[in-house]
């Protein structure tokens, strides 16, 4: 006899399954504990991270958009922006090459002093930037080790652009290398050996196999390196000499403006740097979202 499907459901005596999360939750803390912990974390982040960033932008636009633009169009501000871009344009490619070379050597070869080299790469992270700057002053300054020779040959390093570039290169050296070493170590040298056994030359193996394998990690490292190169204050402050319009980078320019109580201008330039940080973060997030697997081998900073 044909029967209605709804009848069957009526006589179904099985109980509806319980909500699964009741038994599957990994932690057993009470709800109020969880909420207050999350609340503390969020409040802390708002206070320490978000609030200052928001303040930078509100201060920058406090006196209106006109003042904001005026401060940026200022002769010295433009010079500072140009110098910052120039320094980054020199330091980042240099560290890209150094970083790839160092990571390549450390990850793919065994040699004496490898541990020492690895430690050396981390040195700029552990040394205070001011100290790194001072080292260059001691080395190249007028009273420094190479000072007299440099003066005799009319070469300016300290209190000039070359000094700023050197200090920036030093401080930002680890970013690319540190990003690549764990990645390349995790990948091993099997792919390169395969390429060589197939007849590729060393260069062909590097361009066609190694580089594509590390490209996203490399981009990530370059991004971080660039953000730091543009934002570096301590080391650059020591070697720059604060010659307005000549050797002040953006961070130094901001400090000068701030010390002159020119807050609107200081925050206007600062907002540019903050924008750079935000853009870096966004690109980083996009990279992680798209290529998380390839980046997973690298340590986070």
């Amino acid at each position: 006899m044909p029967y209605d499907e709804s009848d069957v459901l009526v006589y179904d005596s099985r109980r509806a399954p319980e909500a699964p999360d009741k038994h599957l939750r990994a932690t057993s803390e009470a709800a109020w504990v969880r909420r207050s912990l999350i609340g503390i974390a969020v409040a802390f982040m708002l206070l320490v991270l978000v609030l200052p960033l928001a303040l930078v932008f509100t201060e920058a636009f406090k006196k209106g958009f006109g003042v904001f633009l005026e401060s940026l169009a200022d002769r010295h501000a433009l010079a500072a922006i140009r110098l910052t871009l120039l320094v980054a344009a020199i330091a980042v490619p240099l560290n890209l090459v150094f970083g790839v070379a160092a990571a390549w050597a450390i990850a793919k070869f065994e040699f004496k002093g490898k541990a020492f080299l690895t430690t050396l790469i981390d040195l700029p992270f552990s040394v205070s930037p001011v100290v790194s700057g001072l080292v260059y002053v001691l080395l190249f300054g007028a009273q420094g080790l190479l000072g007299p020779w440099l003066q005799a040959n009319n070469i300016e390093i300290i209190f000039a652009v070359p000094g700023i570039v050197l200090a920036t290169v030093f401080v930002t050296f680890p970013f690319v290398a540190r990003e690549l070493i764990p990645l390349m170590q995790a990948q091993g040298s099997g792919d390169e050996e395969a390429a060589l056994s197939l007849g590729a030359s060393g260069w062909q193996a590097f361009w066609r196999v190694t580089l594509p394998n590390i490209k996203w990690g490399l981009l990530y490292g370059v991004l971080l390196c660039n953000a730091r190169a543009m934002g570096e204050f301590g080391a650059v402050a020591v070697v720059s000499g604060h010659i307005r319009g000549k050797t002040t980078t953006m961070p130094l320019h901001i400090e000068i403006l701030y010390n002159e109580y020119n807050f609107a201008a200081a925050f206007a330039v600062a907002s540019l740097l903050a924008m750079l940080a935000l853009v870096t973060l966004v690109i980083k997030a996009v990279l992680e979202f798209r290529f998380g697997e390839e980046l997973a081998a690298t340590r986070r900073h």
Binding site: G188, G190, E193, A194, A195, S197, L198, G199, P212
Partner: protein, 346 residues
């Protein structure tokens, strides 16, 4: 191509990985380097490929001394355990890589490269997957692509480093058969490394059994299995049991009694008796080895029992028919049908 390894020695930071190894590989044969981990088999393979350089000794490809040649110049096809496929390239690009990187003078035209790569893809039964990326293939498929890639450069010799080591048992068995077919069809001299004796016995024309950086025995699967020349080979290849015995009056003695095995070409004194658990006969009376069952387990169509023999409780394993009534503490008397005697060490 014929390969000769002559007195090769390899040290890694002064730790020897291979001591004075010599080996002749015949043209067109499929030969297995077999041994436990740390036996130096992979090192030997990498030395042949040119991925490592010997500390001493020479390697000849045909009559040519290849020792000083780079890996690129040796023209070997190398297949890695971890596949080592280029993940940024499609399957087709992977296979054509070796041809594409050739200098212009010897590089075939684009269409020809493509044609050959597609042909190889068919050979490894992966036709139609040319546009996929390695990550989209299963382990077995990846290893087939790796083989096709190695074959694309028309290598003089094909070297495989534990090619099926990362695959599950079922796939491994299929690929084994398939590799044999490819070898028979293409006729490449092929050397492969494995720690899986079953794989080596089934696949290879000859086996090279290695241990602790030296070659223990070279021979056909039958020779190595039936006439192992050292206790190590006997114990490493196939199932085995061993027992300390005495040799006296050209006979084997155990626990002060002769056990009915003649011993002609071995000096009197202590020795080690080796036999296969499945190669024994149960005896009712007469001279034999006797022991008490201490453990038993079902292995395929037979029952394998562990026997405790004599006062010093030496344990050996023998196979009984699965319906044999033996239980715990049952006394069993047996004689190996085939056996080997090796002088006791020291």
């Amino acid at each position: 191509m014929e390969i000769r390894v002559q007195n090769v020695r390899k040290e890694f930071s002064r730790y020897p990985a291979l001591h004075d190894v010599s080996l002749g590989i015949r043209s067109g044969e499929l030969i297995a380097l077999l041994g436990p981990s740390g036996s130096g088999k992979t090192t030997l393979l990498r030395l042949i490929a040119g991925l490592e350089t010997p500390t001493a000794g020479q390697i000849f490809f045909g009559d040519e001394d290849a020792s000083s040649k780079s890996v690129q110049e040796r023209n070997v096809g190398f297949v890695f355990q971890a596949y080592a496929l280029f993940r940024n390239m499609t399957i087709l690009e992977n296979i054509s890589f070796g041809l594409k990187v050739r200098p212009r003078a010897t590089r075939p035209p684009k269409a020809e490269i493509r044609r050959r790569a597609l042909e190889l893809l068919d050979l490894v039964q992966l036709g139609g997957l040319d546009k996929r990326y390695p990550q989209q293939l299963s382990g077995g498929q990846r290893q087939r692509v790796a083989l096709a890639r190695a074959l694309a450069i028309e290598p003089g010799v094909l070297l495989l480093d534990e090619p099926f080591g990362a695959l599950d048992a079922q796939v491994r068995k299929e690929l084994r058969k398939w590799l044999r077919e490819i070898h028979d069809r293409t006729g490449h001299t092929t050397v492969f490394v494995t720690h899986d004796q079953e794989e080596a016995l089934e696949l290879a024309d000859r086996l090279v059994v290695m241990s602790q950086g030296a070659i223990e025995q070279v021979g056909t699967p039958d020779e190595v299995y039936d006439r192992p020349n050292s206790p190590f080979v006997f114990g490493f290849i196939g199932e085995s049991s061993s027992l300390p015995v005495e040799i006296e009056n050209n006979e084997v003695w155990s626990g002060g009694r002769a056990i009915g095995l003649p011993a002609s070409d071995i000096a009197a004194g202590p020795a080690q008796l080796w036999f296969r658990p499945h190669d024994v006969e149960l005896v009712e009376d007469g001279a034999a080895l006797a022991g008490v069952v201490v453990a038993s387990r079902r292995v395929g169509g037979t029952r394998r029992v562990e026997l405790e023999i004599g006062g010093d409780r030496q344990r050996v394993e023998v196979d009984l028919p699965f319906d044999h009534p033996a239980g715990e503490k049952t006394r069993i008397a047996f004689r190996p049908r085939r056996w080997r005697l090796y002088p006791a060490k020291g």
